[in-house]
Amino acid sequence: MTREALTPDDVDELARRAQGGDRDALEELLAAVRPRCLNVCRGVLPYTPDAEDACQDALISIANKIGSWGRQGRFTTWMHVVAVNSARTTYRRMRNQAVSSDYLPLEKPDPRTTSVIAGTRLDLLEAMETIERDHPQFVEPLILRDVYGMSYEDIAQQIGAPLGTIKAQIHHGRKLARPLLRGEE
């Protein structure tokens, strides 16, 4: 099969042009990163139509915030974080909309086939909300590591903290999250 046309260098170059106000470059960039963005959103919202909605929001977010990409790391690494945060915002909005419904959730609905609005099990995200109250610094590294599988090095570079600090934050975050998670089925 043909490799993808754009190398990581090409993507960074597109992003630099998009930052400079090139609309065509921005369009091309968003089209190129959309599948990765959708994958990120699926991590937060496993039900495909919810993930599609979140991905749309995330792409708008990426387009609006593109000026804040610092160019010191890969564009895709920065994009990953923006998409994670946007997907979490979308999740919160959907959950709040669902409160008014008197829908009785099933005991353990399958997250792949159930919308968050109908009571999806998303205990990890709920746990993050809880941890965020007292230890906001643990949340981002933990999500990047355990939900998205980013390497410690990439997370450290993204957040701009030393590797040792990131590893410690993830370790402490996991300890706090464990009692808040439902048992694996």
Binding site: M1, R3, E4, A5, T7, D9, A32, P35
Partner: protein, 484 residues
């Protein structure tokens, strides 16, 4: 595919209620089988004998109990109603004694009848698995026939690449059809052991409304007008993995050309698009260039088929290219033709070894060809790649341990290309290129894995290359590539 337990099969039979055969009314007689498939003692299909295995990355597709030898597909396409009507005749060898035979076939296709060796047999079709409930004995050959119809749909591809999201049968707004189906997706249009360790021969008959024409791999044996229809017959006489099969139905113009040593080359391009034809006419020079590196082209014919996709596939003897600027570029034409040696003549037997196809073709095309035909030389190109591959290993995994939802990402292209260059530097040009040409020739028509490849290169070169292969292909840290 993991075999279904007997209990599940029975439940499926009752629940699905689609069983055919004794008890469900009189079954019609099986369609006639053409010789030599009817003669199950024939040796004419022995070239397609494979050692099928369960895939380590995508175990839910394919079944190691079946060794497909020959698929005969008789396909009728109604573009107005987007309906496919098919008769399939599969000659296969059972590789195990079992109470059933299992193939992949999409749920959108409704199977009306199944026969084994001319006898109607019961079956179920739970999800994408077609389970034929009939006992088979290890080593025996059988003819399985089925009639099915439906509106095929593409399959979700296990990838986060930007240029394709689905594989298999794809219907466009005007009722035209095209396919690209790596790593799987052939099962969206026929019943198949859809895993690359199982190679088979193919005969296709494609019936479409007049004005459209059906195209597939191999040689066009006949093209006739029957009433309001165009009927084409295609034959592929070299064994091929299912992901290397292509089919397109649409408005196409055929142009003939000739490659080195009189190699017949055929272009199938969208009618009224002379610009597309001009681009793909690079094929003869691409073949000549590659023959200079890796030896004689491994098949009897070559074709290029241009479809509305956004990727390119090395479909055996009939390369399928998307119609965009990138996929019609010379780099891509050279890359897909290079796959005829690396990928098609010799094929990875497991999807963890996708790098075996992509690494060498990237080295041949994007490093060597581009290095001698573009603005940067090979060393400059490889140096550029060495700057970003570590990030790919982090993001998608080592080339032979990639994340299963990141099929075909940059890690399986650029990293093994740098590895091959490292091996070239170590062995010297003469030995390296001699072995690069000998590997596909020595393993023609087979599927291989990285263990057999590493052992062969070590033996032939007289150097233990296994640690080097391991470090590049499965290690967690990026080895260093140095220009020398």
């Amino acid at each position: 595919m993991r075999r279904l337990a007997i209990g599940l099969t029975l439940v499926g039979l009752v629940a699905a209620g689609c069983g055919s055969g004794p008890g469900s009314g009189a079954a019609p007689p099986a369609p006639q089988v053409a010789a030599p498939a009817a003669d199950r003692t024939t040796t004419s299909y022995d070239v397609a004998r494979s050692t099928p295995q369960e895939d380590s990355v995508y175990p839910n597709v394919g079944d190691p109990g079946v060794d497909a030898l020959h698929y005969a597909l008789d396909l009728g396409w109604d573009p107005r109603h987007q309906e496919l009507t098919a008769t399939e005749t599969l000659l296969f060898r059972s590789t195990a004694t079992a109470d059933h035979v299992q193939l992949d076939l999409a749920r959108q296709l409704d199977v009306s009848h199944v026969w084994l060796d001319g006898r109607a047999v019961p079956f179920t079709h739970p999800g994408k698995d077609l389970v034929v409930d009939t006992p088979v004995t290890e080593g025996d050959r059988h003819v399985l026939q089925l009639i099915y119809s439906g509106t095929p749909e593409p399959v979700t591809a296990p990838t986060d690449r930007g240029d394709f999201q689905t594989t298999g049968w794809t219907t466009t707004a005007d009722g035209s059809v095209w396919t690209m189906q790596e790593p799987y997706g052939a099962y969206s249009w026929y019943a198949v052991n859809d895993q690359p360790s199982d190679k088979a021969l193919y005969d296709l008959t494609i019936r479409s409304p007049k004005g459209m024409v059906g195209i597939s791999n191999g040689v066009l044996r006949s093209r006739r007008t029957v009433g309001d229809h165009t009927v084409t017959q295609w034959r592929l006489d070299s064994p091929a993995a299912s992901y290397l099969i292509t089919i397109a139905i649409g408005h196409y113009t055929r142009t003939r050309d000739t490659g080195p040593h009189g190699l017949p080359i055929t272009y199938w391009t969208p009618t009224g698009r002379p610009g597309v034809l001009r681009k793909v006419r690079y094929a003869p020079r691409a073949v000549a260039y590659l023959e200079g590196l890796v030896g004689r082209y491994p098949f009897d014919t070559l074709g290029i088929l241009v479809v509305p996709g956004n990727s390119g596939m090395e479909t055996q003897t009939m390369v399928t290219l998307g119609a965009n600027r990138y996929t019609l570029s010379r780099d891509v034409v050279v890359h897909e033709i290079a796959h005829q040696w690396y990928g098609d003549a010799v094929t990875p037997d497991d999807w963890s070894d996708l790098w075996m196809s992509e690494g060498m073709t990237t080295y041949l095309a994007e490093a060597n060809w581009t290095g001698s035909h573009g603005s940067q030389d090979r060393t400059a190109i490889l140096h550029r790649w060495s700057g970003f591959v570590a990030g790919m290993r982090t993001a998608y995994g080592a080339p032979a341990h990639y994340a299963d939802q990141s099929f075909g990402q940059g890690n399986v292209y650029y990293i093994p290309a740098l590895m091959w260059d490292t091996i070239r530097q170590r062995l010297g040009d003469a030995t390296f290129w001699r072995l690069a040409a000998a590997w596909p020739r020595a393993h023609r028509y087979t599927s291989q894995d990285r263990a057999s490849l590493a052992a062969w290169w070590s033996k032939q070169s007289g150097q233990d290359l296994k640690p080097l292969f391991d470090a590049w292909l499965t290690g967690s840290t990026e080895p260093t590539w140095k220009a020398r």
